[in-house]
């Protein structure tokens, strides 16, 4: 970790890069400004500003503890479930600040879905796992509508063919890869705008990982996806834009192709080529 002494680019630098290297023409979905997160006295995220384009996959990369997961959880206000967490700055989704006083964190989390590192299906049936979000949000008026939407979500998550005969079975009886796709289906059922994925494939074997990656690639047509990953190849394969985090700061955010071939920062280059972290 000799790089600890390396100069961290100033925020103005990062913001300037972000502007000139603007990834998008699809419009900004999530506009993050001056976002900082504290756990007690520890600053886990330091003044991050970043624009996440709609209908694209944005990968967050960086070493463990760099703040990328904290960043992800700040986008749907999951951070505040941990006691003594404090957030400053703003996260605007479609122009509405999710941290505004009148914003309801429950509604924010409905609009911003999340898939976790370790698949965490409810200890209920496959059907009930997907139906739960629809039920608690009152999104399905009738039993038939509920069934339709559960099926549609499972189809979107490329799981329907494997589980259509097992809807009443416990979700815990599925393979780990299937469980993770079930978690994706569950998140999609409530029709979020943005889907956050926190290392969704890190616990999976290569084949299951490939299925998740294919899925991510297809889902971006309908959703804006932010994915945290430890795996550089994965970031390169699935994402359009990549954000590199280091010690709680956003170092560089640019087109994935540029981050991996001609990054603006030496630090970024060292990290993506494996000389660091």
């Amino acid at each position: 970790m000799a790089s600890r002494t390396m100069a961290i680019p100033s925020l103005a630098d990062v913001a300037a890069r972000g502007r000139e290297g603007e990834v998008v023409d699809t419009g900004t979905k999530v506009d993050v400004r001056g976002l900082s997160c504290f756990y007690g006295e520890t600053r886990a995220l330091d003044n991050v500003s970043m624009r996440i384009p709609a209908h694209q996959v944005t990968a967050c990369v960086g070493p463990s503890g760099c703040g990328k997961s904290t960043f992800l959880r700040a986008l749907n206000r999951m951070n505040e479930l941990i006691p003594s967490t404090r957030v400053t700055g703003s996260v605007a989704i479609d122009g509405q600040d999710v941290y505004a006083p009148e914003a309801d964190p429950v509604e924010v989390r409905r609009r911003v879905g999340m898939v976790f590192q370790k698949s965490n299906p409810f200890p209920k049936s496959v059907f009930e796992n997907v139906a739960y979000g629809l039920r608690v949000n009152g999104l399905a008026g009738s039993r038939a509508e509920l069934e339709d939407r559960v099926e549609a979500s499972l189809r979107t998550a490329a799981l329907w063919d494997e589980v259509q005969d097992r809807l009443r079975d416990s979700a815990l009886a599925l393979s780990v890869g299937q469980q993770q796709r079930l978690c994706i289906a569950r998140a999609l059922a409530v029709e979020p705008d943005v889907l956050l994925m926190d290392e969704p494939a890190s616990a999976l074997d290569p084949i299951a990982t490939q299925r998740i990656e294919e899925l991510v690639y297809q889902l971006k047509q309908r959703y804006t996806i932010v994915i945290v990953t430890h795996n550089m190849q994965q970031a390169a394969r699935v994402s359009d834009g990549t954000a590199f985090f280091w010690l709680g700061k956003l170092v560089e955010h640019d087109l994935t192709s540029r981050i991996f071939t001609a990054p603006a920062r030496k630090l970024t280059e060292d990290y993506v080529t494996g000389r660091l972290g």
Partner: protein, 281 residues
């Protein structure tokens, strides 16, 4: 002696001591049970279970006490379980982690260690006199509910803490409220553990005598309770009553009464164990 041998020897000695301690406990229990069985088995009959107390030992039955115990424990359950689980849910899922929560936590842990007769004295003043429950099933059940409440709360909190946080996160991430998360996801997973702890607490309450004597539960009741305002007696008080008689025949009745109480206890503990196994499997 080589160190290797010394190690082996101390291992053997420790093994022997452990086995001895276990067997000693079992032996004492076995002798106790054998003694009770010898004294009481002859008295145990359908007539004994359904009979009313009598001045003549051979005619005396245990029905009012058995019915009283069932009444009291049933009402205790109704009072203690919702309050205990509610308190645990509040403390685990809603309450913040400040000094206030710590204070409550320490108090509950201390309450679990207060001698039961003190609960009886409190209940005498509060339930029997101030609230005017009288010496009723309700007063007895309220007393025992107070007694088991700390244990129910502690067991329920333990069960809630065992629910993986990832389950709560999954629910919140779908836009569920705190209450929806607790009700639909957390409670179903925690419930078997909560009930196991509760049943064990209740099975201890069944054997309580002192607090019920303190509130003035009767020792001679020739009828089964017919409601929560009815006077009552319970199995341990009936046994206590019989044991204090000089006649040999009443001691046999006491032994038979103890057997009834033990069967009830074993039944409840067995149910708790079954519940625990089922949720683990």
């Amino acid at each position: 002696m080589s160190p290797r041998w010394r190690g082996r020897l101390s291992d053997l000695v420790l093994h022997g001591l452990g086995l001895g301690a276990t067997l000693l406990g079992l032996l004492v229990l076995a002798i106790l049970l054998a003694d009770i069985l010898r004294d009481g088995l002859g008295r145990l009959s359908w007539d004994f279970l359904t009979g009313l107390p009598s001045r003549r030992a051979e005619n005396a039955g245990i029905f009012p006490a058995l019915a009283g115990t069932v009444w009291v424990i049933a009402v205790t359950t109704v009072l203690a379980v919702p309050i205990g689980i509610g308190a645990a849910v509040y403390l685990e899922e809603y309450g913040d982690r400040g000094w206030w929560a710590r204070l409550i936590e320490i108090n509950i842990a201390n309450l679990a260690g207060v001698p039961s007769v003190i609960y009886g004295l409190l209940a005498l003043g509060l339930f029997v006199r101030t609230l005017g429950f009288g010496r009723s099933v309700l007063a007895g059940a309220a007393t025992l509910a107070l007694l088991v409440l700390p244990v129910v709360i502690l067991a329920s909190r333990e069960a809630l803490r065992a629910v993986p946080p990832s389950l709560r996160e999954a629910s919140y991430a779908l836009g569920a409220t705190r209450w929806q998360t607790v009700w639909h996801q957390v409670l179903p997973v925690a419930l078997p553990g909560m009930l196991t702890g509760t049943i064990l607490a209740l099975s201890r309450a069944i054997g309580e005598t002192a607090p019920l004597l303190a509130i003035g539960a009767l020792t001679y009741v020739p009828f089964a309770p017919d409601g929560i305002r009815s006077p009552f007696t319970v199995l341990p008080i009936q046994v206590f009553n019989w044991m204090s008689r000089p006649q040999e025949a009443f001691l046999e009745n006491a032994a038979a009464g103890i057997m009834v109480l033990l069967v009830l206890l074993l039944g409840m503990n067995g149910f708790a164990a079954w519940l625990r196994d089922r949720c683990q499997g």
